[in-house]
Amino acid sequence: MTTEAIPAAVTSRIPGERSRVVGRTIKYVLLIGFALVVLLPAYVLFVTSFKGLGDATPANAWKLPESWETAGWSRAWEQLGPALGRTFAMVIPASIISSMLGSMNGFVLSKWRFPGADVVFTLILFGMFIPYQAVMVPLVQLMSNLGVPNGVPSLIVLHVVYGLPITTLIFRNYYAGVPIELVEAARVDGAGMLRTYASIILPISAPAFVVVLMWQFTSAWNDYLFALFFSSSRNGPVTIALNFLASGQLQDYSASMAGALIASVPTLIIYILLGRYFVGGLMAGSVKG
């Protein structure tokens, strides 16, 4: 890859050079073209959110606002504000708890194994793929029997429980790359399981925690299905509030689009700040395939 770029630059007068330049131009035209297409919805969201009520007409659909107004943003904030708070209160504990449990499970399944560990792992993994529709009817019953109130408490429980397979999987794969000698050495020194976990494994787990916390945060934040079954617009998270705002009879486009942006800010910030680690984790995970 990089090694080829150097000779190409040095021998710029050889015959193949012209087709290489053409090829490179086509490549960048395509890359930029696709980037513009991907950004198109973002443009619409941004521009429409600043339009006044009379300005959001079909004729002006793709134009910049006649005057930049923030009324749509304040209408959206009024409706989404309380739900945003509830979403944070739900997502933060849910992602921390399921990550901690996933880390311990991953440790036991890769470095402190027991007979039948593979079967247990495969059975846990299946939970990741099930369509939640296949458990929803009795789940509603079970949660009400257990006395977990609708809204934030229910959603914390559900995101922890159904997050366990994925968090276990990510940590298990991460720990699989840790040399067994580290664990063996601790054992020879007489450390028990919990000591080994706390003093050897946990301190080197930061990269996996970044990936898992990001994943759990994003999927709980963006969840709509559980929210629909286990909360209402009165006590539900931001996805419920946003859908309520956007599907009203009166098509308030500027407020809906501002609302969509507000609801996406936390996950977008996480991707922008930590995206590198996320893609890194993704690659570390899949290369070995």
Binding site: V137, I180, S264, L282, G285, G289
Partner: protein
């Protein structure tokens, strides 16, 4: 879900004879809470759901008795349900094809170090961070079905670019409406497939390419015989991940078309509608059918992963 399925194939090293070298009571105790919780919330509830689907329980309140497979027979003779199954298959095929093609193309374009690679990667990947509900807000606007002077959204854009023939009723089309829902889905997940393929490309040792070139392989032969075979595990992971997401499609349709729209009916939407009506038996039966469809895709994958683990 993300990163990870690909790596499910990655196994922990288990040196021979070490297993059981320490007591197994402690690790079992540590994992027991998870095992119990998954046992109840996944397997227990699947069983309970199947049981509900075999009952005469079409109104709020207790079951009126066991009816065997009657609810399933009713569903499979119901035109609406068959239509929604057909929609689901069409949607899944389009979603898979779209994300695999675009994801591969983007990864291929970015594979050799490009100027601004990380910027392009970030742009292609960002839609993944957004919820289907939020992207549904803008896509409902983009996929507005008005045409001509009243056109808005993409139809308006096509009109002003003199591409009027591209204007169409999008998701309100009775036959192909569901395909319009695949457009935002592809927009949202292609970047993720790109990241998977990019990881696959980076995982191919440079020596392999060099060796093929030394042997006089043409660029096409290099791809045909070296690159594609090396990428096939990645492609399989992408199919598993996108496929199972696709079969569960719900949020996007709720946000764009709503639960009552006929042209975008899929089983997950019907399941919710029946639930709100209090028809728990029908709702549970639809859920079980969805589970079976997903299982056709997932179980062979899980079994082969498990076998690979055992072989180690």
């Amino acid at each position: 879900m993300s990163s990870t399925v690909p790596s499910a194939v990655k196994r922990p090293r288990r040196p021979k004879g070490r297993i059981g070298g320490h007591g197994w009571v402690a690790p079992v105790l540590l994992i027991l809470p998870t095992v119990i919780v998954i046992g109840v919330f996944v397997y227990g509830l699947i069983g309970s759901n199947i049981n509900t689907s075999l009952q005469d329980r079409h109104h709020i309140g207790p079951s009126q008795g066991f009816v065997g497979l009657d609810n399933y027979r009713d569903l499979f003779t119901d035109d609406d349900f068959l239509y929604s199954l057909r929609n689901l298959l069409l949607y899944t095929a389009t979603f898979l094809l779209g994300t695999l093609c675009l994801g591969f193309l983007w990864a291929w374009l970015l594979e050799r170090k490009s100027r601004g690679e990380s910027l392009f990667r970030a742009i292609y990947l960002f839609p993944m961070a957004v919820s289907f509900v939020a992207s549904g807000v803008v896509w409902r606007w983009l996929l507005n079905n008005a045409e001509g002077d009243r056109a808005s959204g993409l139809n308006r854009l096509f009109g002003s670019l003199h591409l009027d023939f591209l204007q169409n009723p999008w998701w309100t089309n009775e036959h192909w409406g569901i395909l319009a829902i695949a457009v935002p889905a592809i927009w949202q997940l292609s970047g993720y497939v790109m990241a998977l393929f990019l990881a696959g490309f980076r995982g191919i040792p440079e020596e392999l390419r060099e060796a093929a070139r030394m042997d006089g392989a043409s660029e096409w032969q290099l791809y045909r015989h070296v690159i594609f075979p090396q990428l096939s595990p990645v492609a399989l992971s992408a199919i598993i991940i996108i496929g199972h997401m696709s079969l569960k499609v719900f949020d996007l349709i709720m946000a764009i078309a709503g639960q009552t729209n006929y042209t975008t009916q899929v089983p997950a939407i019907q399941m919710w509608v029946e639930f709100t009506r209090g028809d728990y038996a029908k709702s549970a039966a639809i859920g079980t059918i969805l589970l079976l469809i997903v299982a056709i895709l997932i179980v062979p994958y899980l079994v082969s992963t498990y076998r690979q683990e055992r072989r180690r």
